[in-house]
Amino acid sequence: MSTGNMNLTLQVWRQKNKNSTGKLVDYKLSDISPDMSFLEMFDVLNEQLINKGEEPVVFDHDCREGICGMCSMFINGQPHGPKDLVTTCQLHMRSFKDGDTIVVEPWRAKAFPVIKDLAVDRSAFDRVIAAGGFVSVNTGNAQDANNLPIPKAKADAAFEAAACIGCGACVATCKNASAMLFVSAKISQLALLPQGQPERYRRVQSMVAQMDEEGFGNCTNTGACEAECPKGISLENIARMNRDYFSAKFISEEEV
């Protein structure tokens, strides 16, 4: 295992608060181990800044296992950096070369305002979920697991949609800052299962309305979201959401 042999130049977006205008600031880092995660490299930077009496860089992180969806960071023009199917915490410095300059920016979307530095407010996603991304169930004993037969293929597709961790990389990379990959995954994980059927057409209308309300853009099917999604959420979900939306609006008589 090699340790501490990379010298890097970081260009990091520094922004004091929501209302101030930020700018890219250069930082030199030396003796970075290729085995560090990208966030650990930021920990090193922040320790240096604290020791110098400067403000550390604010960035979101939580589990550092690639499953919570907190870490964001737009690294060298791509959300979660250059590697496929990873979050920023699972990106390692060996994916970069000694002497590289790395540009790090926050997610950029009107619906994701910057809180400070690299941290953005993603509560727009929470409001979309609250609009309908749930199933209403009666309290009481849980039913027998095999009560509702579910074909394997459907269960798998629902599970794949449910893998979405809500990190917002789809919005960040989309040229239109569209949230359709996220919203369609959250709709699909329920629409594919029997438990999601009673509220299926109400759900799609409410969640799409909330998505529009939040100011996300419109999908132009470039496929950038699918390519950058750390969980490999498929564009098939967007097509399913559109189908359900048309059924809800043009066929179903249920108003929302």
């Binding site: 060298n76 023009g77 359709m180 799409v208 529009d212 853009g217 419109n218 099917n221 043009f250 929302v256």
Partner: protein, 222 residues
């Protein structure tokens, strides 16, 4: 606003109109390229002129022509609205965005390609649609084939037409399969078929169109 009208002004609703009008315009291209390909019979435009006269005078076709213009206008209006919304969705741009890593340039340039096609279309209508209309309403004889041969004598016209159909080709390369996806027609078995047909359609149709001004300019057809 009623639920139904909301269906057309929501993000997905506008995309629905985009996709539907796109597919409609694709169906028009099939008719257009088929009829115009009659000039390749190289019979002095005899067969072609019969078809062109039919298209210019038949009442059903003329009503459909109104629908065609409505389709084009709806497609453009929705595109402008959607683009304005999309630009507003990201007020602050990235300093460094490596979009080429995750999407094709033409899928990100549909607005630019569409604008080029529109500019070409205006010239195209002035060249061919307008004289036909004038002839119909002034009850004059109009030799469409002669008009084509006359217009394609200029090199700059030929170059603009070729550039116009190249723009169309790239617009279709994304638009063909994209419209199916927007309509919700994504299917494990059928989507690969749609994508393959889309690619061939986007290559073959513009090539046939481009060959028309080229062949006339080079005197292969007269």
């Amino acid at each position: 606003m009623s639920s139904l009208s909301k269906a057309f002004t929501s993000s997905i609703g506008r995309k629905f109109v985009m996709g539907l009008t796109g597919l409609f315009l694709i169906s028009f291209l099939i008719v257009h390229v088929s009829i115009n390909a009659l000039i390749f019979l190289n019979d002095g435009g005899e067969t072609f002129n019969v078809a062109a006269d039919f298209m210019g005078h038949n009442i059903v076709i003329r009503i459909m022509e109104v629908g065609l213009f409505a389709g084009i206008i709806l497609h453009i209006v929705q595109a402008i609205t959607l683009t304005a919304q999309n630009n507003a969705a990201r007020p602050q741009k990235y300093a460094y965005n490596k979009a080429s890593a995750n999407s094709k340039w033409y899928s990100r340039s549909m607005g630019l390609l569409g604008t080029l096609i529109l500019m070409f279309l205006i010239l195209h209508l002035y060249h061919f649609w307008w004289p036909t209309k004038v002839a119909v309403y002034t009850h004059q004889e109009h030799n469409t084939f002669q008009n084509i041969v006359m217009i394609f004598q200029e090199l700059w016209v030929v170059v603009i037409y070729v550039l116009g159909v190249i723009s169309l080709g790239y617009h279709l390369l994304h638009g063909f399969q994209s419209s199916f996806q927007t309509m919700g027609w994504n299917h494990k078995k059928w989507t690969p078929v749609v994508k393959t047909i889309g690619v061939w359609f986007s290559i073959i149709v513009p090539i046939i169109f481009a060959l028309m001004p080229i062949s006339i300019y080079l005197g292969w057809i007269s």
